[in-house]
Amino acid sequence: MAYSNKVIDHYSNPRNVGSFPKDDPNVGTGVVGAPECGDVMKLQLKISDDGVIEDARFKTFGCGSAIASSSYVTELVKGKRLEEAMAIKNSAIVKELNLPPVKIHCSVLAEDAIKAAIGDWQKRKAQTKNGTSRAAEG
């Protein structure tokens, strides 16, 4: 099976590979997939207090299409507001990277990773807020 040029490009020159410190309060981390399924994506989003994605990092264990999907997603989400990022559908990834049908699950995983990372950030923000208010009460 031949890969599309865009998949090859992202695989060969992946954008935004790496990690943010996990304890940074502005970072949301999403880890989706499972090793025994052959795909694990870790997506980290640095989100401003007013809900704009300022930066993104990824690490992926998976085939070339999985790596390309996550690499592309880091570019796609940067500068987006949370509600815009939440609205990203896997079909946009399929279209951009010309993924064949057997690789659609890679794009689904990348969409899930965005939602998981944002969910993590929201959860942490809520906890910080509760923590702060409890501290104030005390």
Binding site: V31, E36, F61, V102
Partner: protein, 406 residues
């Protein structure tokens, strides 16, 4: 400078040896006769070529010429052996014993018989090296067992089964023993007498011969093995396989067998040295790499390795100027990794991380050095990109993680 791309997938197929091509050439345009034409010289010279080929194949495996039935390849040979025996001996029994790591040509033949209600099949498990325990075969035998079918050497991990011991058990119990020796023939000494083999499949294109031709060895004496044909027609090949003989292919198969006979000792030593050099070149420079298969009891050209934390297909993509194959099945609809690697009890993630290197007659030391360098470099790059590698380095036990599946 090494010439790219490099072919290191010799379990899938082999390039043809020029000497084999030369032997075949006259049989296309000049000696084109039908080997079954008995009344003119065109038929006679074609038959001569076939006879020579039959003798050459027989000599390689210590058989008699008349015990060689030519087929279109090992898949047909496996089908004929398994379906042919079960059909012919149906009054005697209907039980077949095989092994979970067999080639699909064997497994799917067995499954077809089960579906048709013609056989019940026992699929024996293997140990962590992929070896079938002969005692397991003995224990699985019932009074209905008509066939034991076990491969000589595995096509993915190269593990060589204790075939002579299994053959001995089959003889003791009077059960027909079929061996798919597609990967073993021409690579290691295979002797149907010493191993007690009654039926044996082999293929030309795995031993530097042409595609589309193979053979089934069918024992003629002690016992005389009978088969119901799966292809009916003019009654060629002692009635077991009808169809005009593929004369150039048979000549090529014969020539390939003769070269293998003459050069096997030297070639085995050279190819296993190359394999060992490749293995050392990878293992000395990377941590957490594992050999799949038996450490010593394996084919000389086989090296199947799992690179922890790196998915096999992504590694293949990174070394795209090297032809090897992956046990990862990310391209298949099921997303299941290799059933052979999984049968070893290997963790699924390592099964996804496996690569099969298949070295052969035409590989060189320069190629091995290049491949080792490229693989090491690419594995390091992909590990830097792997969340699993990062977690493992942080001391997180990956088995304790609750993964989010779809």
């Amino acid at each position: 400078m090494v010439k790219l791309p490099i072919y290191m997938d010799n379990h899938a197929t082999t390039p043809m040896d020029r000497r084999v091509v030369d032997a075949m050439m006259p049989y296309f345009c000049e000696k084109f006769g039908n080997a079954a034409s008995r009344n003119h010289s065109f038929g006679w010279e074609a038959e001569e070529g076939v006879d020579k080929g039959r003798n050459q194949v027989a000599a390689l495996i210590n058989a008699k010429a008349k015990e060689i039935i030519f087929t279109s390849g090992a898949t047909e040979s496996d089908n004929l052996a398994i379906k042919g025996v079960v059909e012919f001996y149906k009054d005697k029994g209907n039980h077949v014993i095989t092994c979970v790591t067999e080639h699909k040509a064997v497994l799917d033949s067995c499954k077809a018989l089960e579906r048709a209600g013609k056989a019940s099949v026992t699929y024996l498990r293997v140990d962590k090296y992929g070896v079938l325990d002969p005692d397991e075969v003995r224990k699985a035998i019932t009074d209905k067992t008509v066939l034991i079918t076990v491969m000589y050497a595995n096509n993915e991990i190269g593990t060589i089964h204790p075939i002579a011991e299994i053959g001995k058990i089959a003889k003791e119990k009077g059960i027909i023993f079929h061996c798919d020796a597609t990967q073993g023939v021409g690579k290691v000494p295979v002797d149907v007498e010493a191993c007690g083999i009654d039926l044996m499949s082999l293929s030309a294109h795995k031993i530097y011969g042409p595609k589309g031709v193979g053979a089934l060895y069918v024992r003629a004496k002690a016992p005389r093995v009978r088969l119901t044909p799966i292809i009916d027609g003019g009654g060629h090949e002692r009635g077991m396989r009808s169809g005009t003989l593929n004369v150039p292919g048979i000549v090529g198969l014969g020539a390939a067998c003769e070269i293998a006979s003459k050069e096997m000792a030297e070639e085995t030593a050279r190819v296993s040295d190359l394999r060992n050099k490749l293995q050392a070149g990878i293992f000395e420079r990377l941590d957490e790499v594992y050999v799949n298969g038996h450490p010593t009891q394996r084919l000389p050209g086989n090296l199947n390795v799992s690179f922890a934390y790196v998915e096999g297909e992504s590694l293949l993509m990174g070394i795209s100027d090297i032809a090897v194959s992956s046990g990862s099945a990310c391209t298949s609809a099921t997303l299941e990794p290799s059933y052979v690697i999984r049968a070893l009890g290997t963790e699924e993630e390592l099964a996804h991380s496996s690569i099969r290197f298949g070295l052969g007659r035409f590989n060189t030391e320069e190629e091995v050095d290049y491949v080792a360098d490229r693989v090491v470099k690419e594995v390091k790059r992909l590990r830097e990109m792997s969340p699993l590698y990062e977690m493992a380095k942080e001391g997180i036990d990956l088995k304790s993680v609750e993964w989010r599946r779809d």
